[in-house]
């Protein structure tokens, strides 16, 4: 019992335990929000808000609306929850960028990832996991496309980053 408790706090959990817990929480999010968990819709609102500040977007999203959006707190919660999980196990540290090539790959990857997620209406969470969980055909097609994209990405990674 004590050993189990130690593993629960210190980790790592077996992958299947993580899957079960995430599945339960995913269903709870649906119950609370009346719509599934998603990440990039909220990121998009923040980025349009920021673009308006810079004068790049004409429409204005009031910051009060963003601060009262459920998605903001889900996203913030994921960051804080991971921070807490690392602190609880005494495993938190700032992990600086050690090689310049990973900085480029992060920026370019982020750009591709954000663009792709928004034209396909969802990321791995909103489009793939919850698209499939919603029994939508689009979710399955998106999953197939993501798998092919990952295959191309893996070739790029082998060529430039290893």
């Amino acid at each position: 019992m004590k050993e189990n408790w130690r593993t629960a706090v210190h980790g790592p959990w077996p992958y299947w335990v993580g899957a079960m817990v995430l599945g339960g929480l995913n269903i709870l999010v649906l119950l609370v929000r009346k719509r599934p968990w998603g990440v990039t819709t909220n990121l998009q609102d923040w980025s349009v808000w920021f673009a308006h500040l810079l004068g790049l977007a004409s429409e204005r999203i009031p910051v009060s609306q963003l601060l009262l959006a459920e998605g903001t707190y889900l996203n913030l919660g994921v960051v804080l929850g991971a921070l807490w999980a690392a602190l609880a196990a005494s495993q938190w540290r700032f992990r600086p960028l050690r090689q310049r090539k990973f900085g480029f790959s992060a920026l370019i990857g982020g750009l591709f990832l954000g663009y792709g997620a928004r034209i396909a209406y969802g990321c791995n969470v909103g489009g793939l996991l919850n698209g499939i969980a919603s029994s939508s055909l689009t979710g399955w097609v998106f999953a197939l496309a993501v798998f092919l994209g990952t295959w191309i990405g893996a070739k790029i990674l082998l060529k430039f980053l290893v």
Binding site: G110, G114, L128, T150
Partner: protein, 200 residues
């Protein structure tokens, strides 16, 4: 734990107290936002503790031949499908993620797949790794915010192609029982395939 490791217990207590007060404050404004924050913290905690990674579930079978995380993702999909069917099938007013299907779904999926391998995390993975303190994923988030903006601007253009079809909600076409049996059968086949791939 190794006694050489510097204990972060006090930081942990300080963080938990701050979180507690933030949660109370938010609950005063709107209890639903506080509930969302709590669920988000739970998701982030579970993602970090189980080292769950959507990217690895797709990438590791290709690059290292490991499918442990792919099998976990299949389990997560199965749990979510059944849970969503139970919740949305028995209640009213749930807006599920049934999105239109078009060329943008395929192109978006391809770009998203390439991007998440290079960025070292998908959208939720990036957020989780920022919480863990990775500078690389902070850069990736900056890139993603720019990409999201361009995506939002060009979505209209993609829709203008005119061959985007309305999303198909499978239970409306096939009925709940056939949909669920079909999806479970696909997941079982994928799981067997993943297990075979790893033991190959």
């Amino acid at each position: 734990m190794n006694p050489m490791v510097k204990n972060q217990r006090y930081w942990n207590w300080a963080f938990m107290s701050a979180m507690f007060f933030f949660f109370l404050l938010l609950a005063q404004i709107n209890w639903k936002l506080a509930l969302n924050l709590g669920l988000g913290v739970g998701l982030g905690f579970a993602l970090e503790k189980s080292r769950f990674c959507f990217v690895a579930a797709f990438r590791d079978p290709i690059l290292t031949g490991m499918t442990a995380l792919s099998q976990a993702l299949i389990l997560l999909l199965g749990v979510s499908i059944l849970g969503f069917a139970l919740v949305a099938g028995s209640g009213q007013g749930y807006a599920l993620n049934v999105y239109p299907l078009g060329a943008n779904t395929i192109v978006g999926g391809l770009l998203f797949g390439i991007g998440m391998v290079l960025a070292g995390g998908c959208a939720s993975g990036i957020l989780m790794r920022i919480g863990e303190g990775f500078a690389m994923q902070m850069l990736a988030l900056a890139g993603a915010l720019v990409g999201v903006f361009f995506g939002e601007r060009s979505l209209r253009w993609w829709q203008g192609w005119g061959w985007e079809q309305p999303g198909i909600f499978l239970p409306a076409k096939l009925g709940w029982l056939s949909t669920l049996s079909l999806e479970m059968a696909v997941l079982v086949v994928l799981w067997l395939l993943a297990r075979w791939w790893q033991n190959r």
